[in-house]
Symmetry: C2
Amino acid sequence: MLSGPSGSGKSTVISALMRRRGDIRFSVSATTRAPRPGEVDGVNYFFRTHEEFARMIEADAFLEHAEYVGNCYGTPAAPVEESLNAGYHVLLDIEVQGAEQVLQRRPDAVSVFLCPPSMAELERRLRGRGTDAEEKILGRLATARREYGRAKDYAYIVVNDDADTAAAELDAIITAELCRSEKRMKAIMEGDRPI
Amino acid sequence: MLSGPSGSGKSTVISALMRRRGDIRFSVSATTRAPRPGEVDGVNYFFRTHEEFARMIEADAFLEHAEYVGNCYGTPAAPVEESLNAGYHVLLDIEVQGAEQVLQRRPDAVSVFLCPPSMAELERRLRGRGTDAEEKILGRLATARREYGRAKDYAYIVVNDDADTAAAELDAIITAELCRSEKRMKAIMEGDRPI
C-alpha cells in the first residue's frame, strides 16, 4: 500500500517500480464518479453506479472504501485475492484512512508513505505544474502537512528525491518483506521449503 | 547480524554482499584462541590473552561474548560504534546466543538467519567438502537442526539457494531497514530531512 500527498510524485515512482519488477499487479479501484475522457473501465477504474457500489459494500466486497466530494471510491477485494493467489504482489495506491481499513482485514499488508524531500520542494513541484490556482496550491500544502503527521503510522517512509531511487527502495522493501521470518516460516511450514 | 549454521554458505554470501555495497564494515571479533597460520591480528581477529579478554569483560567493552571449546570470543563495542558514527553499516557474523546479547544492548540491530535450501542440500555441502569425518558431519547436521529451531526468533530468514541472490536479499534488507518509519522519523527529527 502506497500513500503520499499530492506532489509526492507517486505515479512516476509507481511506473518506475512496475518497470523494475514483473511480479506486481496494480489494484484498480472502483468508483461512482463518471469516467473522464480517455478513462477505460477496468483499467483506470471500475466505474460503478451508486446502487452497484452500495450492493458491493453490503456484500463486504471491499478491502476499504470511502466517500470523497460526493463520490465513492473503494478497493474490490476479489481481484486482489486473485492476484495474490496467482503469486503476484498487489500494489494499492491508497489514502491514509484506506490503508488503516486494509490493515484491519489484511494485517500482512505492508504500508509505505511516500514523501517529497521537503515542504519547500513540494511547494516548488505544485507551483511548477503551472495549472493550479493559488488557493488550490495552499490547500494542497495544508493537506500535505496534515498527511505528513500520519507518516509515522506507516511501516516504511520513502523520500522521493529521485523517482528511480525511490522505486529501488520500494523494490527493496518488497524483497525484504518476503524475507521476514514470520512470512518465511509460514512458507517453510506450508511446504515451499523442505527445512 | 548474520547467523547461519556451518554449511549455510555464510562467508561466500558475506563476500558477495560486501562487493554489492561500499557502506558496510565487517565487525572483527576478539578471541583468546591462538592465531592460525596466515591469520592477522586486527584483520581476522583481535587476538587477546585470557587476562586481556577478562579485563575487557570487566570494562563492559563487548556487545556480546561467549566461551566455545575453552576459548573466548566477543564483539568489541568500540569499533562498532566508531563505524556507525562514521556512517557505515556494521555486519556481525554471530552465533544465536550472541545475536540475543547484542539485541539487549542495541535493540536497533537487525538479525538475519541464513539457511541452506534444505537439510539434504546442507548434508550434500558438508560431505562435498570431503574434509570432515563422518562423526563430525553428523554432529554438524544435529547442530544445524537445533539452530534452525531458532530461525523464527530472527527478524529475517534468507535461504541460500544461490550466493548472489542471497546477497541481493541481504542488500534489500539493509535498504528496507533504512526506510523503516521509526528510523526515518528519527532522521527527520534529527534534521537530516527538512520535513
